[in-house]
Amino acid sequence: MSSREEPTLTIFQRGAPGRRAFAAPVLDVPPAPDDALPADLRRATPAALPEVSEPELVRHYVNLSKRNFDLDSGFYPLGSCTMKHNPRLHERVAALPGHARLHPLQDPARAQGALELMWNLQQALGEVAGLPHVSLQPSAGSHGELAGVLLTRAYHEDRGEQRTKVLTPDTAHGTNPATVTMAGYEVVKVGTNADGGVDLDDLRAQADEQVACLMLTNPSTLGLFDANIAEIAEIVHGVGATLYYDGANLNAIMGITRPGDMGFDIVHFNLHKSFTQPHGGGGPGSGPIAVSERIEPYLMRPQVVRREDGGFDLDHERPKSIGRLRGFQGNYGCFVRAYAYIRSLGAEGLKDASETAVLNANYLLALLKREGVAEYLPVAYDRLCMHEFVLSGAPMKRELGIRTLDLAKRLLDHGVHPPTVYFPLLVEEALLIEPTETETRETLEQFAETIAELLREAAEDPELARNAPTSTPVRRLDEAAAAKRPVIRQELAAAG
């Protein structure tokens, strides 16, 4: 329970001049000589940071935390985000000083534990992807995508080719086209066929020598596995392009099938999805990539390597490398967690995770095909799904007069995080539902019940959904106003 004191005051609006949570360590050296820092390089007035005591600081942020919904409190079927349970063991091991206080520039000889961990993780991810060479460097999925497309560019350029286009399906996640642009390519869309797969004819039509790469998610963002993947790979490789695997949906296939075996050249992982990093309300994440032999020479610097003597080292040479995409060796803290997860589950456990994720998704889909729901929220592609599935709210909108957004907001009043809404774009009023493997059968049944109940309710009184939520700390917010006159920082009263 949270206090009723005005909760939306920012930390800058609390406290009073002179209050403090920080006590400075004793000045145990002579004060710096005046000329140590010339006056014209000095700051004139202190930054107007908050002035609060420790108790004020703690209460402010503890009470703020209580205005968040979290995975440890309820169901969070946010499609494409794989909101699986975050084991606290991972936080414990990541916090061990030997990991947490290890400086990134520590001599490799004195960071053998960390390098071995990274090496082991590289091996494991390579095995899961079916692609032998791994770089852990990228900071998130989209960072991995950028790495992948830049690798593609390096690959082609090394072969003297200047290709100009990258293909992405119209179901692709926004980061795919955005990445393509940043990597200096032109985005070309590929259509989707009737059963949710890549439209092969369209693909053949588009695929030419100017195509550098096809970026694909399989299972797709529709939660469907594209059975034509072998043929797709053939077409893409036929024109000398690379095939990129967006790994956001890897949670469906771990230990069952492997991108490398499907013909992909480059894969990115979202460790914060398939390998259960806590999402932190928007990061941190980690987006390692795995690549095939032909792409390996261009992989980022530095690489963790194993020396003959069994020791580990960082290889900064790599003449053909595209270089680095960030500082140091990547989000090591995430590696520790992902590695702990892999060692906890092992080969069997990872496969069990994917199987159960797919089982849970299909079970929930089956529950939602019941009368009273299916008429309003039909599944977009009526087949077995993988780890997630897409419903269309179009009939609901037509017949009950409430939009997918309204349903989502009404779910908030029932302590459930709504599914991903209005994505993928090609399904009207889409709801993308991903239960993950860590939810119980009871939770899935409860959710299906709730959906049915909300639809019944909407049939009687659609206003309830249109005005939802009502039980949340705030109700619907005026996003238009926020964008029209952006207020993106606290204005301060005349500096105290």
């Binding site: 050296v29 960390a114 086209p177 990445t179 469907l224 932190g280 995409l325 702990a340």
Partner: protein, 463 residues
């Protein structure tokens, strides 16, 4: 079934019945047999929690962390004290486990934190516009260069050699995609060579990239460098400055130096070293670039009842709406680390940030003087320094560092690999955790080590 899943055999049977398939196997019918993995993954078997703990503890024990030695390593990440409140807050499920706040009504905590974070960064940098975080330092520099391209379309980028080598390398990597070309402005006596900068400027230059303090610890005259860039012509390039946020408590903020975009590594603000990440990058700019900013931005608004609230705003910049026309491809960022950042800054507070800066200034001055008094040790440059400084040793740096390591001291960062012109360079970093006693210990050990190595060298068995 694992300890993280709940489907018992009974559950499975009932669920499969409801789905209408005989086996879990069947659920994967769409995956062509030829592509099925016909063997278990070649990974070790799963382990019990305590076994995983012991394994990870064993690996940790094979690292020498800042808990195990007296470390003067810096060069981009620094061993600052992280207050306990941060662990507590970062550990709260409510901050730790949610996704990006797509549903603002149940994410006001995280959104307000972003808003407060943006305010703190804006105050720190003296620039009006901050986003909610980018990945980390060097990629933030890259993101800034991309903004410059969006802003003026020019392809020449001038980067001071004082910019972190990793930032310059990242710029170069990205430049192949951005279509930019990165050129270096040399250093003169440890600081960016103003004359060389002026000489290099022309109307094709889209951005000038600086770092404060620079990699060698020197406090740059950013105002002068920025002024030069702006005088380079009517449509001058953007000035980008990568800053270490801690010294900004006492250094003139980039916003007052004519900097257009201030970015930097946020690790020093309440984040652990973590062998390099996760931390966060901050990204602040002048008003005119608001709609070119990368990543998330939290904005204030009201709900239908007029209550104050916060949302992700200006999303039309972003990939999920704008797709190939987005100002950046960033999606998952570093929200939790940015939370640590704003909590840390609030913990330090208005006075504390200055006190910390002054403490580092004093200890750095003390250390620099103490060490440069040693035989065979001299300052690599005479520029003002605030938390880190470069030395030149009259001895093999690698072997000297080894000698100190054997005494439980990490002497700092050897400059040779990144600055071949300084094979004998050593970069020494100071934080509030390095006491006078630690510095004296370093001085004593360094003096002995340099002396010893010089003897070896003279004895001619130096190679």
């Amino acid at each position: 079934m694992t300890t993280y899943t709940s489907a018992t055999d009974a559950d499975r049977r009932a669920m499969l019945d409801a789905i209408g398939v005989p086996s879990v196997e069947e659920l994967f019918a769409d995956v062509p047999q030829a592509l099925r993995l016909d063997r278990p993954l070649a990974l070790p078997a799963g382990m019990a929690e305590q076994e995983v703990y012991e394994h990870l503890r064993g690996l940790a024990a094979r690292n020498v962390s800042a808990e195990d030695e007296v470390s003067f390593l810096g060069a981009g990440m620094y061993d600052h004290y992280v207050p306990a409140v941060i662990d507590m807050l970062m550990g709260r499920s409510e901050f730790l486990t949610p996704y990006t706040p797509y549903q603002p009504e149940i994410s006001q905590g995280g959104l307000q934190v972003m808003f407060e974070y943006q305010t703190a960064i804006s105050e720190l940098t003296g620039l009006p516009v901050s986003n909610a975080s980018v990945y980390e330092g060097p990629s933030a520099v890259g993101a800034a260069a991309y903004l410059a391209k969006l802003a003026n379309g020019r392809l020449r980028v001038l980067a001071s050699r004082g910019v972190h080598p990793y930032s310059r390398e990242t710029l170069t990597t990205l430049a192949r995609g951005y279509g930019q070309q990165i050129e270096e402005i040399p250093l003169r006596e440890g600081a960016t060579d103003l004359a060389a900068l002026i000489a290099a400027l022309d109307e094709d230059v889209g951005a000038v990239v600086l770092q404060q303090p620079n990699f060698l610890g020197a406090v740059e005259d950013v105002a002068a460098l920025a002024a030069a860039a702006k005088q380079s012509g009517p449509t001058h390039p953007l000035v980008i400055c990568a800053c270490d946020p801690i010294p900004l408590g006492i250094l003139k903020p980039p916003g007052e130096c004519g900097v257009d975009i201030a970015v930097g590594e946020g690790q020093t603000l309440g984040n652990r070293l973590d062998f390099g990440g996760p931390s966060f990058g901050f990204f602040a700019a002048t008003q005119e670039h608001l709609r070119r900013m990368p990543g998330r931005i939290a904005g204030e608004t009201v709900d239908v009842d007029g209550r104050r609230g916060f949302v992700l705003t200006l999303q039309t910049r972003e990939q999920h709406i704008r797709r190939e026309k987005a100002t950046s491809n960033i999606c998952t960022s570093q929200a939790l680390n940015a939370l640590a950042g704003v909590v840390y800054l609030s913990w330090l507070g208005r006075a504390g940030l200055v006190e910390l800066g002054e403490l580092l200034l004093a200890r750095t001055a003390y250390a620099r003087e103490r060490l440069t008094l040693l035989d065979g040790v001299e300052a690599l440059h005479e520029q003002p320094v605030v938390r880190e400084f470069a030395l030149r040793l009259d001895a093999d740096v690698a072997r000297v560092r080894e000698r100190l390591a054997a005494e439980g001291i990490n002497a700092g960062y050897a400059l040779g690999r990144d600055y071949p012109e300084h094979p004998d360079g050593l970069l020494v970093a100071i934080t509030e955790r390095r006491t006078r006693a630690d510095i004296d210990r370093l001085a004593d050990a360094l003096g002995r080590a340099v002396a010893a190595e010089r003897e070896v060298a003279h004895a001619g068995v130096g190679a």
